[in-house]
Symmetry: C2
Subunit: 204 residues, 2 copies
C-alpha cells in the first residue's frame, strides 16, 4: 500500500468536500511533505483515479474563484468511506516497513473507537514479532551466525529496527489505554485542517 490514497481520502473526509489544492495544503500542514513523498502529480492522480473507481464523487465546479483553471471538488462516497477505514485498519495492523503509511495512519487513528485502535496496534506488535522471527530465521545458518560475514549486519539492522518499532508501538498502546487523546464517539474531535482563511502557523 502506498500512503497517498489514505492521505488523500483522509483529507477529503475531514473537509467534507475538497479540491486538489486543498488536499495538497492539508498534507503540507500535517508535515506530510517531511515524511511522505506526496508530490502534486501523485495527489491529482490519486483523486482522479479514485473518482473513476467510485470512491470519490467529483463535482465539476465552475472556473475557480480567483481565476486559473477550473477546479474540481471531491467528496467521499459510501464506497470511499469503506475504503478509507479499510486502508486505515490495514495500515495500523500490518508491518510493511513503510513508515509513511504508518505516519498517515497515526494521524487518522482517532477516527476509530479507542478500543479498536488499541487492538489493531496490538496486532501490529504481533506482526512485528513475526517479521523479526522471519528475518532471524532466514539469516541463521547452521554453523553459527559468524559464517555470514558482513551480510549478518543486514539482519542486525532489521532486528534492531523491528525492536525499536515494537517498543514505540507498545508505548503508544499504553498511552491510548491510559486515556490519552480523543477518539471517535468521545465528544469534540481534534480538528487537523485549516479553516478557510486561517493561517498556517507552521509555514516556513
Amino acid at each position: 500500500m502506498s500512503a497517498i490514497r489514505l492521505l488523500v481520502l483522509g483529507a477529503v473526509k475531514q473537509h467534507g468536500r475538497a479540491h486538489g489544492y486543498q488536499v495538497r495544503n492539508d498534507l503540507e500542514y500535517w508535515g506530510a511533505h517531511e515524511w511522505s513523498h506526496a508530490k502534486p502529480g501523485s495527489i491529482y492522480h490519486a483523486l482522479k483515479q479514485m473518482a473513476k473507481q467510485g470512491l470519490l464523487h467529483a463535482h465539476e465546479v465552475a472556473p475557480s474563484a480567483v481565476g486559473g483553471p477550473p477546479r474540481v471538488e471531491y467528496e467521499l462516497t459510501e464506497a470511499g468511506a469503506e475504503e478509507y477505514f479499510a486502508l486505515l485498519r490495514e495500515a495500523l495492523t500490518t508491518y510493511d516497513q513503510k513508515m509513511d503509511v504508518l505516519s498517515a495512519a497515526i494521524g487518522f487513528m482517532v477516527d476509530l473507537p479507542r478500543e479498536e485502535a488499541a487492538e489493531l496496534l496490538r496486532r501490529r506488535v504481533r506482526a512485528l514479532d513475526e517479521w523479526r522471527a522471519s528475518v532471524t530465521g532466514y539469516y541463521t545458518p547452521e554453523g553459527g551466525p559468524e559464517q555470514l560475514g558482513h551480510i549478518g549486519e543486514i539482519m542486525h539492522m532489521w532486528v534492531h529496527s523491528a525492536d525499536a518499532g515494537k517498543e514505540w508501538t507498545l508505548g503508544l498502546i499504553e498511552r491510548i489505554e491510559a486515556g490519552a487523546y480523543v477518539f471517535a464517539g468521545e465528544g469534540e474531535a481534534f480538528v487537523g485542517v485549516l479553516a478557510e482563511g486561517q493561517e498556517n502557523p507552521y509555514a516556513s
Copy 2:
C-alpha cells in the same frame, strides 16, 4: 533512489557477467526478497534501462542452454562501475527512510576501503541528526507540544526510529573500526554469490 539499481549493478558486478535470471537468484539468495520488493519485472526492466543508458553492456547470447527464450548477458561498463560506487556511497550516507536501500548498501559496503566505509557511515549519523532536528522543529508549536494532540505521536515515532537508526549505525562503525569483516584491498574477499551448480543452502 530505489534499491533496485544498486542491487542489480552489484549482482552483475559480482558475477562479472550475468543474465536476468541469475540476478533474480542472487537477490533471493541474499534474502533480498524479504526486505526489498524486487519483482522480476523490475529487475528485467532495470537491466534493459541501464543497458540503454550505457551502464551495462548487453551481450546477445544464443538461445539458452536449456531451451526457453534466448538469454541476454550483461556486463558492467566503465560508466556502470562509476554509477555503482556513486549509488553505494549515496546509499550509505544519506537518510531517505528507505531501509531496503540501506540493506543493499550494507551488503556491498565491503567493496569500499574500510576507512571510507566508516567515514560514510559517520556522515550518515550526521544526516540522521539533521533529520531528527527537522522533525522536532516542524512539530514543536509555541504553546508546548501538548497542543498537537495525537498528531504529536507522528513526531514521536520518527524520533524514536531515528534514534534507533543512529544507535545501530554507531554500533556498526565501531565494529568496522575494530577490524571486523574483510574490505576492499584486504585480501580474500567474501563471496556472496552462488557458483554454477552450487546449491542454495537457505532455499525454503
